[in-house]
């Protein structure tokens, strides 16, 4: 039953992926496409196996940056959302702020951060991830703290609940599903940011650096092999976030209540 369910969920994409790779391989072979244009999946795979130690190492570097940035971003984002809730003016700034951040690719700040810190540290990259995650979490959690249903507010008013009791009994529990929605957006965004940040220089160790340097040296298959590492890392972060949501916030209501969180911040740069 559950196995069937799991297969029902992941079966179709797996089959689709297999067909896609098959056609890719076929096209490369049939049309005799040169490896510097597009390497065949089998070539990428053998490259992946050959370099697996290096790829794992690079994945760990990028993954650590993403994780550290994610943790700090969540902590600061949650803290800031509480501060925003206290001030009505700040509250009204959240939505325009989110829109503005959506339009500005803040990832371009990486070179600025690189200049601020020595080139042997990972701090600029972690800082960039923190910043992206911070905004995603802050905007969503602030929304959850604020958008308590009017019936609940009226009920608590009829109980003469103090502002602190309203916070504990209604605002915080109401914001929990919003936090988890934010996490499922922020976790993959953290990986993408950590990895794109490496494109802008700094230490020469992570996935992003390896992809660009191999591509620059026309080692296309190697470059693609590192892309496999990047995909795996992003997937792991996303699945862990979704798993946490399923286990810690299993409210059916919450999934109906919000249609996707707000995701500011040029993470898609």
């Amino acid at each position: 039953m559950t196995f069937k369910k799991i297969m029902g969920a992941i079966g179709p994409p797996l089959i689709f992926g297999a067909i896609f790779l098959g056609i890719w391989e076929l096209i490369v072979v049939v049309f005799d496409i040169k490896p510097f244009l597009l390497p065949a999946p089998t070539a990428i795979w053998s490259e992946f196996l050959e370099r697996s130690d290096d790829i794992i190492e690079a994945t760990l570097v990028t993954g650590t940056n993403a994780l550290i940035g994610l943790i700090f971003g969540v902590v600061f984002g949650v803290a800031m959302s509480f501060v925003l809730m206290r001030f009505q003016v700040a509250n009204e700034l959240v939505t325009p702020l989110a829109v503005a951040l959506n339009a500005i690719p803040i990832i371009v700040l990486v070179p600025v951060f690189n200049n601020m810190f020595s080139s042997t540290t990972e701090v600029p990259r972690q800082l960039m991830v923190t910043l992206i995650v911070f905004f995603i979490v802050m905007v969503n959690v602030a929304k959850g703290l604020r958008q308590v249903s009017p019936v609940h507010m009226e009920l608590l008013r009829s109980y003469a609940a103090s502002p602190r009791e309203v916070l504990v009994k209604a605002r915080i529990p109401n914001a929990v599903p919003y936090l988890f929605t934010a996490l499922t957006i922020a976790a993959p965004a953290a990986v993408i940011t950590a990895f794109v940040a490496e494109y802008f220089g700094g230490r020469q160790n992570g996935l992003g650096y390896s992809i660009t340097s191999n591509a620059a040296a026309s080692r296309n298959a190697a470059s693609w092999a590192y892309v496999i590492g990047a995909c795996t890392l992003g997937l792991i972060f996303y699945l862990v976030a979704v798993g946490l949501e399923k286990v810690l916030s299993p409210s059916q209501h919450s999934t109906k209540q919000q249609s996707g969180g707000l995701a500011p911040g040029g993470a898609s740069a």
Partner: protein, 277 residues
């Protein structure tokens, strides 16, 4: 027999509504005169129903008594105190049109919420909420989440929550609207039993004439634009009401009386509505 809102309020009265008017968005283009010069006195242990066409201000009156909103003019006393003081001291329980359950709390924890806010201890809360669950026949669902219940069951949980602290005054806004006929009659009988046993005063909003007649000592008939009390009908079917009461001639007689009062209220509204335009 009909009486105008009693004119000699006493300190011991459960609710005193003294020349209360309520205008929403006063002075703006979307101004609504919801209630106009209302007078009503409710004695302790009285069961009063508010009935009238949609938009005549029944919910507004209930929210004024609950001190969730403040009147534009006039004053309200609840249990001899100002309405807001009564709210602070949690002298009433309230059930709304929507159940308003907290979706992150189990059914039992929802019922315990008002008790938590009153500072009751854990075991006392648990004991009372278990009693309340039995009362609304939902003991089997104590640890379920609200979304796992049907709409009618959710409404029963909300009623249990409003009764949990045994407040001296109950304010109910169409609480049985979502229930099926059988459950509805059961809940009506239970409500009467609880209120008689605990001498609870009830202000009950409903759209159903039979429900108002069956439950109430007095039925307050209201008319809209602006909301006014047009008639107060004494019912008093006696304290030994049971299922047979619903088939008696006096029951039907009262239903007819309320229906005619409602028609009168609407007729009075007719020309007035035209005048306003």
């Amino acid at each position: 027999m009909t009486t105008r809102g009693v004119s000699h309020p006493v300190a011991s009265d459960a609710v005193v509504v003294d020349r209360v008017s309520m205008t929403f968005n006063e002075g703006k283009s979307n101004e609504v005169r919801a209630l106009c010069d209302l007078e009503l006195v409710i004695r302790p242990a009285d069961f009063v129903s508010l009935i009238g066409p949609s938009g005549c201000g029944k919910s507004t009156l209930l929210r004024l008594i609950a001190s969730l909103i403040s009147p534009t003019s006039g004053s309200l006393l609840v249990n001899g105190k100002s309405a807001s003081q009564a709210r602070v001291e949690q002298d009433y329980g309230m059930a709304f049109q929507q159940s308003g359950l907290f979706e992150w709390r189990t059914v039992q924890k929802n019922i315990e919420l008002p008790l938590e806010l009153k500072g009751w201890g854990k075991s006392k809360r648990h004991q009372r909420s278990t009693e309340m669950l039995e009362l609304v026949q939902l003991s089997d669902f104590a640890s379920n989440m609200p979304w796992e219940l049907s709409g009618g069951m959710q409404q029963r949980v909300a009623i249990a929550r409003s009764l949990a602290a045994h407040p001296p005054l109950l304010l109910m806004d169409e609480p049985f609207g979502a229930l099926d006929e059988m459950t509805r009659e059961h809940m009506q009988a239970e409500l009467l039993r609880i209120c008689a046993a605990s001498e609870t005063t009830v202000v009950f909003v409903t759209h159903s004439i039979p429900e108002a007649v069956y439950l109430s000592n007095r039925v307050v008939v209201m008319s809209p634009r602006p909301g006014r009390i047009t008639e107060i009908i004494d019912v008093n079917l006696g304290s030994d009401r049971d299922e047979d009461t619903r088939e008696e001639a006096t029951f039907y007689g009262k239903i007819t009386e309320v229906r005619e009062a409602l028609r009168g209220a609407e007729a009075a509204d007719g020309p007035r509505g035209i005048e306003d335009r």
